[in-house]
């Protein structure tokens, strides 16, 4: 049972390593355009600038944390928190909470996708991250690292 749990945890790590590196690569692929897209969000200019660098950097760092068994738990928690932040942001955009509608160009699905599509994608990935989080806590409770 424990071995099965460990295998699931490793497979989830693989999924998130590929996801975060793809996501970071997508942003860095055309970094100029990504920075422009960040400036079309609801954040102040200084924060948009900061996020243009910190978001892809965080994604690469999280992917690296997921590689090693010792840091995998931290990587899984950070994956969950980052996905939760993305989902909350898209959810609030969908609900029209912001004073102006931000450009929905920032997601992995591109400009053609609606905020609803981005929200659904983020929600599904957050749920997968939740599974990883549960496995991590079970693992820590059992005092075991794979």
């Amino acid at each position: 049972m424990e071995m099965k749990q460990s295998v699931y945890q490793i497979l989830l790590s693989v999924v998130f390593i590929l996801f975060w590196l793809y996501s970071a690569g997508f942003k860095l692929y055309d970094f100029g355009a990504f920075k422009q897209e960040m400036h079309r969000q609801v954040f102040p200019a200084e924060l948009s600038n900061l996020l243009s660098f910190t978001v892809p950097a965080s994604e690469i760092i999280i992917a690296a944390l997921l590689v090693n068994a010792v840091t995998r738990g931290i990587g899984m928690i950070l994956s969950f928190l980052l996905m939760l932040a993305f989902t909350t942001y898209t959810g609030l955009a969908l609900l029209g909470v912001y004073s102006t509608t931000p450009c929905n160009c920032i997601g992995l699905l591109g400009e053609k996708a609606s905020w609803g599509d981005n929200f659904m994608l983020n929600l599904v990935i957050t749920l997968i991250a939740t599974a990883g989080l549960i496995l991590t806590f079970k693992d820590w409770k059992g005092g075991k690292r794979v």
Binding site: I17, D30, A63, T100, E111
Partner: protein, 130 residues
């Protein structure tokens, strides 16, 4: 189990490899597609002041051939890029159509309005510092 334990490292190396190869193909693939599919026109703000009404008035924006954008600091309007749908006489003397909806927001620190939104879904906004 040993192979499974090595999967995360293999995935990381594969992911990094994909990231690097994606960047290598950028110039060849993405840029031409971007310009071929959707010609964009750049307009620079040339209004008398930085009031909301002036910034939101289409006639205060003049066409510029250079499509470079400004640095994005949200203090004063600088340049916008719009698709052909929002441009009059695109092939002769491009001018921003009055139907375009430009929304401006106040920078409370400087008391100037900058461009916050455009109703052109493919449009780009750039503002500049004081």
């Amino acid at each position: 189990m040993n192979i499974i334990k090595k999967l995360p490292l293999m995935a990381f190396v594969l992911g990094l490899g994909l990231m690097i190869s994606m960047s290598s193909f950028k110039e060849e693939v993405k840029e031409p597609a971007k310009y071929d599919q959707n010609a964009s026109y750049a307009f620079e703000y040339n209004g008398p002041d930085f009031n909301q009404a002036s910034v939101e008035l289409a006639s205060n924006w003049v066409y510029v051939a250079n499509t470079d954008l400004c640095n994005g600091a949200k203090v004063k309007p600088c340049r916008i890029q719009v698709s052909e749908d929002y441009v009059n006489n695109p092939s002769t003397s491009p001018a921003l159509k009055s139907i375009i909806n430009i929304s401006a927001e106040l920078n409370t620190l400087h008391g100037t309005y900058y461009v916050k939104g455009l109703d052109d879904p493919t449009g780009l906004i750039s503002n500049k510092p004081n």
